[in-house]
């Protein structure tokens, strides 16, 4: 049976928060993000990890593949922005929730319209703060491909994204 070393396990634990954000940006739903995160962790535990693999990059790659599998299994994608604060440690105000939900809805709707490869690349860099090199490694594509995907994603978003909140 595949196994994880203690160091790999600790590295993954430290990465779970970032992975959760990645899942949220892919699914646009707190509940779906939790499910995707759990699927990712279960797959990592089930398949194990090579000793020389970078735990975080490995986990992001598994997560990406799990998400693509999920998309393939859905005939129609439904992403209804949901209340993402059900496990907040500090409960935000109702106004803040409403504002956050509106923005999440607008952003998620726009991201939904992007090709999945563009969305994945943009999310890793813009949300997760990965470098282009890291994103290329996670998505298993050349660096130049990452650059062009992110640029095209932003170019597309400029056409389709309409902010729904009032900015300060």
């Amino acid at each position: 049976m595949p196994s994880l070393s203690e160091l790999q396990r600790e590295a993954l634990l430290a990465e779970l928060g970032g992975l959760r954000k990645f899942c949220l940006s892919l699914t646009g739903s707190a509940a779906d993000a939790d499910d995707l995160l759990q699927t990712t962790v279960e797959k990592v535990l089930e398949k194990g990890m090579p000793e020389d693999a970078h735990p975080a990059k490995w986990a992001y790659r598994i997560c990406k593949n799990a998400w693509i599998d999920e998309l393939r299994s859905r005939e129609v994608r439904h992403r209804y922005p949901q209340h993402m604060g059900h496990e907040y440690e500090v409960a935000p105000s109702a106004e803040h929730i409403a504002s956050g939900e509106r923005q999440m809805s607008a952003v998620s709707d726009a991201l939904d319209k992007l090709p999945e490869d563009q969305r994945l690349a943009l999310t890793l860099v813009a949300v997760e703060g990965k470098t282009y090199a890291e994103a290329a490694e996670i998505l298993e594509v050349p660096l130049g491909t990452i650059m062009s995907r992110i640029a095209r994603a932003r170019q597309n978003l400029m056409d389709i994204y309409a902010p729904s909140r009032d900015k300060d």
């Binding site: 049976m1 160091l7 954000k21 949220l24 999310t123």
Partner: protein
């Protein structure tokens, strides 16, 4: 605007543009209002995307997921990082010499205390459940055996002795499938190290050989406890 300009702006936004090209682009941004406006719009959208998915709670990991990766909570080899072993041996080799009275009764219906505790005590990553006879128990995970029964890995302390075992439930009784004698670290009541951690890990080997899947989640284990391990 050309696609190449979008790529330049995008790389500039991500601080991925080489220094020489960055200088050139900055000059262009000052000289070309349309390019500047496009960059400002691109940056604003990027800020919205980043802020949306970095909002409070976005990185909140459900306990059930974290539990999967916590030490001793899943069916994996978790000894690799433990760099030292303490003097101990497998029960098969020395257990009879240690002669723990509880062990003799654990495999038969007589050890009601341990049986009940394994039936009802949730797994935990630290701390101990003190049994009515003074022994301390820490179930660490539960899993389904390939034969359909339920099994639990656990730690048990009695005086200065400690053991790590895997017991499986059959006909209402928990019977040890494997049991290692170990030693609690001196002066640290919550610490524990297995016997021969770097040499023979019979606990992990047993689980790897007999488990039908990964360990139960906290919720799944709770359901089994509630159902008295009958589901």
């Amino acid at each position: 605007m050309k696609d190449q300009d979008y790529e330049l702006l995008s790389q500039y936004l991500d601080a991925e543009l080489p220094a020489a090209e960055t200088s050139e682009l900055r000059l262009r941004l000052m000289a070309e209002p349309q390019l500047r406006a496009t960059y400002d719009r691109m940056r604003s959208i990027n800020d919205d995307v980043r802020e949306t998915f970095n909002a409070p709670g976005a990185d909140a990991v459900p306990q059930r997921v974290a539990k999967l990766l916590q030490s001793d909570s899943s069916v994996v080899n978790r000894r690799a990082g433990w760099g030292f072993a303490v003097a101990a041996s497998l029960l098969a080799a020395t257990g009879l010499l240690m002669n723990p009275e509880w062990r003799q009764s654990a495999d038969k219906p007589g050890d009601t205390v341990l049986n009940v505790a394994l039936d009802t005590t949730p797994s935990r990553g630290a701390g101990w459940e003190t049994l009515s006879d003074g022994r301390k128990l820490r179930p660490v995970l539960s899993f389904a055996h390939r034969d359909g029964s339920w099994c639990r890995e656990y730690l048990l302390l009695q005086n200065s002795q400690s053991w790590r075992g895997v017991a499986c439930r059959s006909q209402g009784q928990w019977t040890n499938g494997v049991l290692n004698a170990s030693q609690a670290l001196q002066g640290a009541g919550t610490e524990y190290r297995p016997a021969g951690a770097d040499d023979v890990d019979t606990i992990s080997a047993y689980i790897a050989t007999h488990a039908a899947g990964i360990a139960l989640s906290r919720e799944q284990e709770f359901e089994q406890i509630e159902a008295n391990w009958q589901q």
